[in-house]
């Protein structure tokens, strides 16, 4: 069995890639992808911890179902993320229609 650490490192790496991507890129679509990356990093973490919890609980009591809720969460998150993607992509499409670009640096009208 793989130790949970590996999952943690993977998740952390993905999350950091996501953050760096969000911070450094100007293309809205790439930023969006990075956000998804971060979201999924969290998902991996949830699944990993869930598995860990569950194994520990089963060892004590084979009938236990403890720790499986997190995996349910992941499904919810994926659903919400899908809905979010549609809204987000729609915004990006609208943005492109308005300013003919998906560069977020042009989106600074709130400044004034």
């Amino acid at each position: 069995m793989m130790p949970v650490n590996y999952y943690l490192f993977l998740s952390l790496t993905l999350f950091c890639i996501g953050i760096v991507g969000v911070l450094t890129r100007r293309n809205a679509i790439i930023i969006f992808m990075c956000i998804e990356l971060m979201l999924n990093a969290v998902n991996i973490l949830l699944v990993a911890f869930s598995k860990m919890q569950h194994l520990a609980a089963v060892a004590a009591n084979p009938a236990s179902a403890a720790g499986t809720e997190a995996q349910l969460f992941v499904f919810f998150i994926m659903v919400v993320a899908a809905a979010e993607v549609t809204v987000g992509l729609a915004i990006i499409v609208m943005m492109y229609r308005n300013i003919h670009s998906v560069d977020i640096n042009f989106l600074n009208r709130l400044k004034h």
Binding site: I19, V22, L23, T24, R26, I104, N105, L107, N108, R109, L110, K111, H112
Partner: protein, 633 residues
């Protein structure tokens, strides 16, 4: 009769209201009749009251009209006090005042009607204030009159308000008086906290049990008030400038009213002064210093009214010397005789100025003897009286003061005599340059020279008679049996002070004769000198040099005050104005600006760059983690 005392100030007040409100509608005749008539009416009432007071066994009466201020334990009534001192002053004020009013009706006839009425209204108000001052039965009522005369002098000195110099003189008079008034006020406050009252009766009764220290404080503060009102060093400079007003006004200010207020007040509070020897010494020294100082200035003045003005300051110094050495009667006596001859001299000067078409420089006069016979004779009598030639009034009053100061200290006496000599000298310099020799004015002026009308000469004659005979009520015992009648009359007022008098030793008769006539003889010599020198005066273009120049410029005291007080005050004010604008307002506005500035800086954070928002978010999150992580202790 003394129940009717309120009539005395009421008449002038009515005159003021009538003339003041009807200034556009009343003719000059009506105005002068009303203006002078009310004073005459007051004089008659005063005379009746005086006759009642003169009776032996008269006790001072306090007539309370209404409660002026009645707060908590402090009760100040609007009350009048009738006694020997106030009745005597009433006579001087209304009597001399009436003559001055009469004189004014002719002197001011060139004014247009509203201004003529305004003039008489002010004059009446002046007399009203002065009457309040001497009638008040407590210090607050006295203070009302005290400030009132200050106000009226301001209004009258600045009567010709188109002239800025006159306005300045008026302002100066008021401000100088106010400085003194502040001292007076503080004295009253001290009295209130010490005695709980300002009534003369309460205060004087309590004075004996009061610590000398407190009495000294109170009397010194009151004396500051007297310095301002009676033009003593250092607050005397307003009086010579006060001659900017019409000449009769100068006569009123210098003779009958205003400047005598300080003497009256000290004489009224005599018991407190007698009980505080320190103050007495200060009063005497101030008086003597003023007498000498002003006399030196008078020696070199060329304006007829200025000479008289400085002589007033000097004579007032004598009165304070008398008060300082405890000769209260002498001071009051000199107030009276001085009122006569100084009014005479000023009105005579007015007559000269009138004849000379507003020329006041005595260097341009001379030889007026033959053109103005009545003015000349009366003026000469006035000069003799002020110089102290027996048996004119000034001789007796001055002699009484000098004798009293000799008893206190021979130094006072010698300096006093020195001042008297100077007085004789400058008065006869003035007389000789004005009336003797040959005429030095323009032909035009010579052509118009004429004696003044009766309304001017009659007051002169009456005052001349008084100047000659006025002193006879105070002839000393050595010269006449049953003398010192004034002293006996005023004795009840000064009884408490007399009782405290320690030095009982009297002068021998020979000594007294020697002093009296010896001094008179020297004065005569001085008069001869002045007469001889100035009756042959020729106009020269030579400027005064050395000490003469200093005296002509009045010891540069005005310049000194300007440099030491006025300029620094203005400088301080300008500094404070800028300080307020830059510093205080700067702090206030700075607080506002700080908020604006910091908001503007904070706004920059909202750059609109989504990336930077996220960066801040991430950093903040990391920071939170770090804090969370290390938040153990």
């Amino acid at each position: 009769m003394s129940k009717l005392i309120y009539l005395v100030p009421l008449f002038p007040l009515l005159g003021f209201l009538l003339n003041g409100l009807g200034r556009k509608y009343l003719s000059k005749t009506v105005v002068s009749v009303v203006g002078s008539g009310v004073i005459l009416a007051s004089f008659i009432v005063s005379l009746l009251i005086f006759l009642e007071v003169k009776e032996p066994g008269f006790t001072p009466q306090i007539i309370s009209l209404f409660d002026f201020i009645h707060v908590a334990k402090l009760n100040i009534a609007f009350a009048f006090q009738v006694d020997q001192l106030s009745s005597l002053f009433l006579l001087i004020i209304t009597g001399v005042g009436f003559l001055i009013h009469l004189y004014s009706s002719a002197y001011m006839k060139d004014e247009t009607e509203p201004h003529f009425a305004r003039y008489f209204a002010y004059l009446n108000l002046f007399v009203f204030s002065m009457l309040l001052l001497v009638l008040g039965a407590n210090y607050v009522i006295m203070f009302i009159g005290w400030e009132g005369v200050g106000l009226c002098s301001y209004l009258l000195i600045g009567y010709w308000f188109k002239n800025d110099e006159y306005n300045k003189a008026a302002k100066k008079a008021f401000v100088m008086n106010r400085i003194g008034d502040l001292g007076f006020l503080l004295g009253i406050f001290w009295m209130i906290s010490q005695f709980g009252s300002t009534d003369f009766s309460t205060v004087f009764a309590g004075a004996a049990e009061t610590p000398v220290k407190i009495l000294t404080g109170i009397t010194l503060l009151l004396f500051i008030g007297a310095m301002g009102k009676s033009a003593q060093i250092p607050l005397y400079t307003w009086l010579p400038d006060a001659m900017a007003g019409p000449t009769p006004v100068s006569a009123l200010i210098h003779a009958a009213t205003m400047v005598t207020a300080g003497i009256y007040m000290v004489a009224r509070s005599n018991i407190m002064y007698t009980l505080s020897p320190v103050t007495q010494t200060i009063v005497a020294i101030t008086g003597l210093a003023t007498a000498l100082f002003a006399a030196t200035i008078a020696l070199k003045q060329n304006d007829i009214k200025k000479v008289l003005a400085y002589s007033t300051v000097s004579q007032l110094g004598y009165m304070f010397l008398a008060l300082g050495v405890g000769a209260y009667t002498g001071a009051v006596f000199h107030v009276m005789t001085h009122a006569f001859f100084k009014a005479l001299l000023f009105l005579g000067a007015g007559s000269v100025i009138h004849a000379m078409h507003h020329e006041q420089d005595i260097r341009n006069m001379g030889g007026l003897k033959k053109y103005l016979p009545i003015t000349h004779i009366t003026f000469l009598l006035g000069c003799l009286a002020i110089a102290g030639i027996p048996p004119l009034s000034g001789f007796f009053s001055k002699d009484e003061i000098l004798t009293a100061s000799f008893l206190k200290s021979p130094a006072y006496y010698i300096l006093g005599v020195l001042g008297a000599l100077m007085t004789a000298f400058y008065m006869f310099r003035l007389y000789a340059m004005t009336f003797l020799g040959k005429f030095r004015g323009t032909h035009d002026q010579e052509h118009h020279l004429h004696e003044s009308p009766a309304a001017i000469t009659i007051p002169l004659i009456v005052l001349a008679i008084l100047s000659v005979a006025g002193g006879w009520i105070g002839i000393p015992d050595v010269l006449m049996k049953g003398g010192h009648r004034l002293e006996h009359f005023l004795a009840p007022v000064f009884a408490a002070s007399t009782a405290l008098k320690t030095e009982a030793h009297e002068l021998s008769h020979t000594m007294e004769y020697l002093m009296m006539f010896g001094v008179a003889a020297i004065i005569l010599v001085v008069i001869g000198l002045a007469w001889n020198r100035f009756s042959r005066y020729e106009k020269t273009s030579a400027q005064e040099t050395g000490i003469g120049k200093v005296l002509e410029n009045k010891w540069y005291v005005d310049e000194l005050y300007d440099a030491v007080i006025s300029k620094p005050l203005l400088w301080l004010s300008a500094f404070l104005k800028n300080f307020d604008k830059i510093f205080i307002d700067g702090i206030v506005n700075g607080a506002g600006k700080l908020v604006q500035y910091s908001s503007r800086q904070l706004r920059l954070v909202q750059s609109g760059q989504v990336g930077s928002y996220i960066l801040i978010m991430v950093t903040a999150t990391i920071l939170l983690f770090i804090i969370q992580f290390f938040w153990k202790s």
